[in-house]
Amino acid sequence: MPDPAIRVTELRKTFRVPVREAGLDAAVRSLFRREHREVHAVDGVSFAIEPGEIVGFLGPNGAGKTTTLKMLSGLLYPTGGEATVLGHTPSRREADFLRRITMVMGNRNQLQWDLPALDSFELIRAIYRLEPDAFRATRDEFIELLDLRELVTKPVRNLSLGERMKMEFVGALLHRPQVLFLDEPTLGLDVTMQKRIRSFVAEYNRRFGATVLLTSHYMADVQALSKRVVVIHHGRILFDGALAELSTRFDSTKTIGVTLSEGTADLSSYGEVLSTDEGRTLLRVSRADAPEVTTRLLRDLPVLDLTIEDPPIEDVIERVFADARDERAAAMPAGG
């Protein structure tokens, strides 16, 4: 069994942030005595990712996803715990380590604004000291994969957001990194462009066996690319496992969709009616009751079509965070 590509043990990052109340009094007081509070952005996170694995890193804003990614890419120094990526300690930022990873952020721009992307790619070749023939082969292959042939000679400033993002991806992967940290890579892109980026990442992973840690607010990204997800909230891991298992663990319901051959009927005696739309009724029932309810529906009613599905993954995730919020509130001492 090979060593994990990424191994994180009890990783922590605490920021010390200044606090000041509003108003002149507070401003004057802060001249003499500055107050700070500690924010535990990442609070004892542990996981391991095998070479070639694609893992979705999920959590609401401020959960600690980006902070973790920044620690793993060497941009932030951990307050505690350990992280190794491809056998390197990221915070040392060794050149050999930086040559083997990449980080793509939805808002990052590493391309020269006024020049065609081809010129920026040449600079990347020089920075990573890539062998010219191999560089050209990789570049042309990526350009082909992302259908950029007509665009690489246009100044970057004339490209749309989606076209720029595709160019960013080419630039970020030209040195063929073995670990990809993708932080909201499809942010603000339309559905077609998101799909294109997703298939490119999947293809890169397949071709080069790269390890990918991906954060995204678009569940479609995660569903399309990752079999495994790590869910983080308030700097702590709430779940680490198969995406399919997430529903089983955190949502004990199934959604049954029923279409009757003749009109509609009141189905509230079978389960919680979620919606009725164009003759199709959605029912929520407990996972355990689903087989029995299905049998009754088929026996009692003229069913034209029936589906049994897990609830949408967005709803499951929302439930995970809601549960965590409730637990946190319950753990807080009562105020007076």
Binding site: L75, I101, L123, L130
Partner: protein
């Protein structure tokens, strides 16, 4: 797991090839970018000529009123000094310390830290490429100023050789110091007064405001302990033929010494600055 893309290899020769490739490519990209902005660059350079022309007119007038010269400078020599000034000023332009704040705030620094190359190399090479464009744009400006102010030069071949080295030395040296100033922003953004002190000292003790030989003795002695004159007055004096060979070579040695000192401080400060950035976040 597959390996990363093949590189040009390791070893001294590959390393030299790698550095030359990096500097060459970054300079080429800077030239291409600057050509896009050739008109605004030209207006910028014309605007920059205002400052030396004011100094030149004032000092030429004083020289004439003092019977033809001041401190050994005739009006023709003042003209030579300030025309070369315009080139040296453009050549020693370096990344301003204020740019660092934007680099940190705008996230550019994170991108720089993800690359396996110290960012000072890309800055040095980028602005060096810009200067290649500047020299071309400067030639007609110098010709125009020469027609109007009639400079007098007494140039030996060694002056030209030393000047060609000294203007790049001045650029590297000034880049190091402005980089150091920029790194202060990692600890505090309230550094305006520090920058003001630096730039005022530079104005007075570098030969930018007046040739150093016109400054009082105490100022000249003070300047000997500071790096400023090696970034401004020395290259100018070298080209207009005011320095004997020993001072020309001594000046290059001083540039080298200050570059070594400042580069060492930059190396240490950069490590501390990155640690600071890594601790507090971008």
């Amino acid at each position: 797991m597959t390996t990363t893309a093949p590189t040009i290899g390791r070893g001294p020769l590959a390393s030299i090839r790698g550095w030359l490739g990096l500097y060459g490519t970054q300079m080429r990209i800077a030239i291409l970018s600057q050509i896009q902005y050739r008109v605004s660059n030209y207006f910028y350079m014309i605007g920059m000529v205002t400052e030396p022309v004011i100094y030149l007119v004032v000092w030429s007038t004083v020289a004439r009123q003092q019977g033809g010269e001041v401190g050994g400078f005739t009006p023709g020599e003042f003209a030579a000094y300030y025309i070369v000034w315009t080139l040296v000023r453009n050549m020693n332009i370096a990344l301003t310390p204020w740019a660092w704040e934007e680099r940190v705030r705008g996230g550019e620094l994170s991108g720089m830290l993800l690359r396996p190359v110290h960012p000072i190399h890309l800055d040095l090479a980028g602005l060096a490429g810009w200067k290649a464009v500047v020299i071309l744009l400067w030639l007609p400006i110098a010709a125009f100023l020469s027609l109007i102010f009639q400079p007098t030069y007494s140039i030996e071949p060694i002056d030209v050789v030393v000047f060609l080295i000294a203007i790049w030395g001045a650029y590297v040296l000034r880049s190091m110091f402005l980089w150091l100033l920029g790194l202060v922003t990692f600890w505090t953004t309230r550094v305006g007064p520090v920058f003001d002190i630096f730039f005022t000292a530079e104005l007075l003790l570098s030969g930018r405001l007046v040739p150093m030989s016109l400054m009082p003795d105490w100022a000249q002695r003070l300047a000997d302990f500071l790096p400023f004159q090696w970034t401004f007055g020395f290259p100018i004096d070298a080209l207009i033929g005011r320095l004997p060979p020993d001072q020309l070579l001594g000046g290059l040695a001083m540039q080298l010494l200050w570059i070594a000192i400042s580069a060492s401080i930059v190396a240490v400060s950069w490590r501390l600055a990155v640690r600071r950035f890594s601790a507090v976040g971008g």
